[in-house]
């Protein structure tokens, strides 16, 4: 078992024939991802990487029965692409593109929610279920199959965390990079319960960052709903205070979003909090060998 995606997930790629889309779609296919087609306007009817290209997501869904979309379109078109996927009946959109305007993501996420479509990202490495399905840009070889679920805001810390878990002799069920933009799709509080419900996941690694209060909300949820052991690292304990002009954002969230505040909240919720990412693997080992 796993969460979100597996070997049977039918995946299309929006921005299929572009440079980034092509490169990473090919890597995903090599990993074993069931990519059934892609979308690039005005290239419908062509074949790319051995799969059909469609002009619209609606056509692609109708022809292939795809339920997941991996989005690689340029930043200015991300909002449009997400809304198109939502209306076409896609169930999960994984948005890799970096630099999408916040206003566009705000509208796109609201529209996705209205149509019951889950989103991951933007500006994230994607999601991977080890040995089954990779939807994103992570190096597949470091994710060995195992019993640890991983959620991270940061891309490279996802790799670091997964690598350490595997080096300790364990492995990954599913790893999700949720991204760190102001508006993101699935977050800790949607994904943690999925790992709790997944029989194969026995331990959860959660990697956060300074800013916002998603980790504080996660601490509350963990205390109330999560029975599996959780290891957490919050990046940015030594980061300098942001050079912001106004402080309205911090007042809105009711927290300053410091690493210290988040680490304390997680510790109080019974989470094993490590002070350096170099200790993630050891902490997982400690919890799983109990």
């Amino acid at each position: 078992m796993s969460i979100l995606v597996n070997k049977d997930s039918k995946v299309i790629v929006q921005g299929f024939t572009g440079k980034e889309g092509s490169f990473h779609a090919e890597q995903c296919i090599d990993y074993g991802t069931n990519i059934v087609g892609g979308v690039t306007p005005n290239k419908g009817g062509q074949t790319h990487l051995g799969q059909p290209v469609f002009n619209t997501v609606a056509e692609a869904v109708k022809a292939t029965g795809a339920t997941v979309s991996m989005i690689f379109v340029p930043p200015a078109f991300v909002g449009d692409a997400v809304m198109e996927a939502a209306e076409a009946g896609i169930e999960l959109a994984v948005i890799i593109t970096e630099g999408a305007p916040v206003k566009d993501m705000q509208a796109a996420k609201a529209h996705a929610t209205k149509h019951g479509m889950m989103t991951i990202g933007p500006n994230c490495p994607g999601v991977i279920t080890a040995d089954e399905c990779k939807i994103g840009i992570m190096p597949g070889m470091i994710f060995k199959k195992g019993n640890v679920g991983l959620i991270s805001k940061s891309g490279t810390l996802t790799y670091e965390g997964a690598n350490q878990v595997c080096n300790e002799g364990y492995g990954i069920t599913t790893a999700v990079g949720i991204g760190g933009d102001p508006i993101i799709g699935l977050s800790y509080n949607q994904i943690l319960p999925m790992f709790e419900a997944d029989p194969d996941t026995e331990c959860i690694v959660m990697i956060g960052e300074i800013g916002g209060d998603l980790e504080i909300q996660a601490a509350k949820l963990i205390k109330e709903q999560i029975t599996k052991p959780v290891v957490a690292f919050i990046a940015g304990q030594t980061a300098p205070k942001g050079k912001t002009m106004g402080h309205a954002g911090a007042i809105v969230s009711g927290s300053a979003g410091t690493a210290k505040e988040k680490m304390e909240a997680l510790e109080a919720a019974g989470v094993k909090v490590v002070v350096s990412p170099a200790e993630i693997g050891k902490a997982v080992k400690e919890l799983l060998s109990k």
Partner: protein, 390 residues
């Protein structure tokens, strides 16, 4: 991206949002000419820097004669203004805004920001203007009114009523004035991809009108491409020159005051590397994210920028290659040692995509001062030891 007060007021004026008359100047002579043109009888001489708290720092002063304008312009222009938002090093004042004095009956606070939890913009207001809004939120949160506005429906009448009644405004003409003001501000926020607009103080005049006496505005960097007028307002002199140069090469750099230079891929791992160094008793000299498209040239540039800092005693290169290929980073390190005189120990930890090839490249290059870190913890420990001369 942030803009100056005088620029924010230009944008306000474009949306018909009332602001006092004012002129931006860059010399004392022009300050007096501007004051003459505005007419007086009172003027405010305001330092233009990208930071709040200017008044308390001595950067905003009232003048009652042209002589006083000259005197104050002389005093403020060229000063290094230190406020709670500039850091102890302060900011050099290179521009002044000479403004008409306003008829102030009371001071309010008004801002528009993104509420990340509600995932929509939020209008925030308070009767306690002119003060640090964080203190108001801390001490008297009941005096802050918040009105979220869903962009799908836009600014409706009820949003305006919630705002006006929330601020305790009972006069009908005043209610209409504040509602119109907020409506225009929300329109500006949406149309310009603003990230944050803050007016503190928002002044209520004796006639019951509302005027933006100050204006701070920040914009979504990802949207600047479609906001050319806003993008043109960028003032590079307000930004750190090393950070600007780094950004030109696709590097994200922030100087810190420690001894270990860091070069990492990904912001999260970069922060995690700094945290690890700190935890092991060392001090990071900088944050540097080489980004996803790192190549030999950008890595060499990164070395050059890090080595400009004389405090650097060791460099820790920590790469976990996903999209970034480790062999390219290895070639970049070799390139850097050819171009720049790398006279400090360099600890290199390369993992992920093409790491074995990279390790081979570095081994064959025979670079003096190069130490291999086996993993994050090992690399950080070696960097800390090297910086201490061990």
């Amino acid at each position: 991206m942030n803009i100056h007060e005088y620029q924010a007021k230009q944008v306000f004026a474009k949306y018909d949002i009332p602001v006092p008359k004012g002129i931006m100047v860059e010399s004392v002579k022009d300050a007096v000419i501007a004051a003459e043109e505005l007419g007086g009888p009172v003027w405010v001489v305001k330092a233009q820097i990208h930071a709040g708290g200017r008044g308390l720092g001595g950067g905003v002063k009232l003048a009652k004669s042209l002589d006083e304008v000259e005197e104050l312009a002389n005093e403020i222009l060229g000063m290094t203004l230190v406020t709670h938002q500039t850091g102890p090093e302060g900011k050099l004042v290179q521009k002044l805004y000479i403004e008409d004095g306003a008829d102030i009956q009371s001071e309010l606070y008004l801002s528009v920001v993104l509420d990340r939890k509600l995932e929509m913009p939020l209008i925030m207001a308070s009767t306690e203007g002119g003060m640090n809004i964080e203190d108001v939120a801390e001490n008297t949160p009941e005096l802050i009114v918040t009105v979220p506005v869903d962009p799908a429906i836009g600014f409706q009448g009820f949003h305006g009523r919630e705002l006006a009644f929330g601020l305790g405004i009972t006069d009908k003409a005043e209610q209409k004035n504040i509602i119109t003001f907020a409506q225009k501000l929300f329109k500006l926020y949406m149309e310009n991809d603003a990230e944050m607009i803050e007016i503190n103080p928002l002044v209520r005049t004796g006639k019951g009108e509302f005027i933006a006496l100050d204006g701070k505005m920040g914009f979504d960097n990802s949207a600047l491409g479609r906001q050319p007028e806003i993008a043109a307002m960028r003032d590079l002199t307000e930004e750190d020159p090393d950070e600007v140069e780094a950004a030109h090469y696709g590097l994200s750099y922030v100087a810190l005051d420690g001894e270990i230079g860091c070069m990492v891929n990904g912001a999260g791992l970069a922060m995690g590397t700094m945290d690890t160094i700190n935890h092991m008793g060392g001090t990071p000299a900088n944050f540097l994210d080489v980004g996803g498209s790192a190549n030999a040239e950008t890595v060499a540039k990164g070395f050059e920028i890090i080595l400009k800092n004389p405090k650097v005693k060791a460099i820790f290169v920590n790469i976990f290659g996903g999209i970034v290929r480790c062999d390219r980073i290895a070639n970049g390190i070799i390139e850097a040692t050819k171009i720049t005189d790398v006279n400090v120990p360099v600890i290199v930890r390369l993992d992920g995509t093409n790491a074995p090839e990279a390790s081979e490249i570095l081994k064959n290059a025979n670079i003096a001062n190069l130490i291999v870190g086996n993993d994050l913890g090992d690399g950080a420990a070696k960097a800390v030891a090297a910086a201490k001369g061990n």
